[in-house]
């Protein structure tokens, strides 16, 4: 049975290991309020402060600064829409002898960094697979922790997202979420809906198949009301009814899945028709700027033909 065991607090700091950590490495976490999300210095070498119960942000997303891309990347070939399956938090925690909750908290930090990078490098939409419809069967304790983590993260980030020009949309079956979280999601979506620098789509309680089924139902509803004829049903009609209709670019150009698993796991099935897939070996909390640069440079070297001949 999973127990939420929080380690004894000391004032220790973590340096993210580039290579796999040695077995038996036990890491203490700090529980006093610390500078959680320092803004990235020029040199890629920073201290990772561990999770606290208060996820307040002291480092902000820099607004509208022109950032130089790493040497391997070209601005004109940047993908417009990147999707990420954030897999491996549990394994990351187990490798370090921590509770799964610590893995999820570390995952949130990695996500925060990814959001900053996307803002700086001109990616317009970032979709993340936070919680699948199939994840509801996980142990109750873990599910409750994840729901409270989402709430805390949303509450603490909404200010900095507003300042940074980030628009948040949430897709998935929200009826299964706790009511407080549902209300918070509506508020955050409303507050940030006019932002335009980056659109962050968070898939919570989401299933690709369910997305298509609900699109089908709303089409059937429209047909019943006489708004459309059954003969009018075509691919773009379905595309308009999918939950990703909240964005102008519903089709990801690049899908990144971490932790080395080679499958799609019921995420964005329709939308992945011509998406370039990138499978990273690292676990999600270890997926940082270097790994993201690898994924992007692999994407930029690909030849996309969409079935035709180039």
């Amino acid at each position: 049975m999973l127990s939420l065991r929080f380690a004894i607090p000391t004032a220790n700091t973590l340096t993210p290991p580039k290579t796999k950590p040695k077995p038996g490495l036990v890491v203490q976490t700090a529980w006093n309020q610390t500078d959680l999300f320092p803004s990235l210095p020029k040199r890629y070498d920073y201290k990772l402060q561990a999770a606290t119960t208060d996820l307040s942000v002291e480092g902000d997303i820099p607004a509208e600064e022109v950032v130089e891309l790493p040497a391997e990347l070209r601005r004109e070939l940047m993908p417009k829409h990147v999707a990420v399956i954030m897999d491996g938090n549990g394994r990351w925690a187990r490798q370090r002898g921590l509770a799964t909750s610590a893995g999820h908290e570390a995952g949130v930090k990695a996500l925060r960094e990814l959001i900053e990078l996307c803002c700086q490098w001109g990616i317009q939409v970032l979709t993340v697979f936070a919680f699948s419809y199939e994840n509801w069967i996980r142990p109750r304790v873990e599910v409750d922790f994840l729901m409270s983590l989402f709430e805390r993260a949303l509450k603490s980030e909404v200010e900095s997202f507003s300042r940074g020009g980030i628009r948040i949309s949430v897709i998935g079956d929200s009826t299964k979420l706790p009511t407080s979280l549902q209300k918070l999601i509506n508020e955050v979506e409303e507050t940030t809906k006019h932002n335009s620098r980056l659109q962050l789509i968070v898939a919570v309680s989401y299933s690709g198949k369910y997305d298509v089924v609900q699109a089908c139902r709303s089409i059937a509803e429209k047909a019943k009301d006489g708004q459309i004829q059954l003969d009018d049903i075509n691919e773009s009609l379905i595309e308009q009814e999918l939950e990703t209709n909240c964005t102008e670019h519903p089709y990801p150009d690049l899908l990144i899945r971490t932790s080395g698993e080679l499958r799609v796991s019921n995420f964005l099935l329709w939308q992945l028709a011509y998406t370039e897939l990138f499978f990273a070996q690292e676990l999600w909390p270890d997926f940082r700027k270097d790994e993201f640069v690898d994924a992007l440079s692999s994407y930029q070297q690909r030849q996309r033909r969409y079935g035709g001949r180039h």
Binding site: Y210, R263, N266
Partner: protein, 289 residues
């Protein structure tokens, strides 16, 4: 001298075959995938790489397909699906499309022959896709092949022509809506519906119950086959290209970098070994979804 050489080649062939059979015996101790799907990518690059004539890559690719089918059926894989021609491929040059259609016609006639792989392994052939988009002779040949092999029941070969997954889903959605529409109309005309349509229709909950996941799934072109266990795409491209998007939700993706005409026993073995490694985990996922 010539005869001795032939004999040596024959003995070598038999040895290799025996070795493959032994390996299959050992592998079948573990789980055997029920359904393998192939995206046969890289034929044109192979043609360029080996400096062959136009279209030679596709012909060699076809014999690579025959060997892969042989491995699958010998090993005990019941369902094999291949991505032969996408709806998007119609965008290619008319000469290339025509030569592919001619190749398909030629090969369909071949597989209907007595000694072909289809009859040897009792394979039922299904053509999945929007067959109305094909030219008349190809469509008729496909329908003939489906009819001729309809009684076979040992294995199934699904050939996806004029197929894209989004088209398949859209078609299934259309059919589901039509079916439900007909049901409602029937209910109304028989009086059992109490004129629900004219009164403004069902409540939202009841509408939800009308169209379910299973309704959409049963109208898919690929409804005759279960979800694939492994999808193999050659030539190192890591994308699904609108193939089996719906069915690949929990499927293992094997993406070797060889070009399709170069694929062989080694890649097949590797795919099976990797599949067996993660099979138990995936099976659990599938039962829970």
């Amino acid at each position: 001298m010539e005869r001795i050489r032939e004999r040596v080649i024959q003995i070598y062939g038999n040895l290799v075959s025996l070795l493959q059979k032994c390996i299959f015996c050992i592998l079948s101790v573990g789980p055997i995938p029920n359904h393998i799907a192939f995206i046969m990518d890289g034929n044109r690059r192979f043609t360029k790489k080996c400096k062959l004539m136009e279209g030679a890559g596709h012909k060699i690719g076809f014999s690579a397909l025959m060997s892969m089918l042989k491995y699958c059926y010998e090993f005990g894989v019941r369902y094999v699906t291949v991505y032969a021609f996408s709806i998007e491929n119609f965008k290619r040059s008319p000469e290339e499309v025509q030569s592919l259609m001619d190749l398909m016609l030629e090969k369909i006639e071949e597989i209907l022959k007595e000694q072909s792989i289809v009859n040897r392994y009792g394979v039922r052939v299904i053509f999945s896709g929007n067959l109305k988009l094909l030219s008349e002779p190809v469509r008729l040949a496909a329908e003939r092949a489906m009819l001729a092999t309809a009684k076979n029941s040992m294995a199934v070969l699904s050939i996806c022509v004029a197929y894209t997954s989004t088209n398949e889903i859209m078609h299934a959605v259309q059919e589901s809506c039509e079916e439900k529409w007909d049901e409602i109309t029937l209910l109304n005309s028989s009086g059992a519906g109490y004129g629900l349509i004219s009164l403004g229709g069902y409540e939202q909950d009841e509408m939800d119950h009308l169209i379910k996941l299973t309704d959409i799934e049963k109208h898919m072109y690929m409804a005759a086959a279960p979800d694939p266990d492994i999808i193999i795409r050659t030539s190192g491209e890591t994308r699904l290209s609108n193939f089996l998007l719906w069915q690949s939700a929990n499927c293992y993706l094997y993406l070797p970098s060889v070009l399709w005409p170069e694929i062989g026993f080694r890649q097949f073995l590797w795919a099976i070994l990797n599949f067996q490694q993660i099979h138990f985990y995936l099976d659990k996922q599938r039962k829970q979804s």
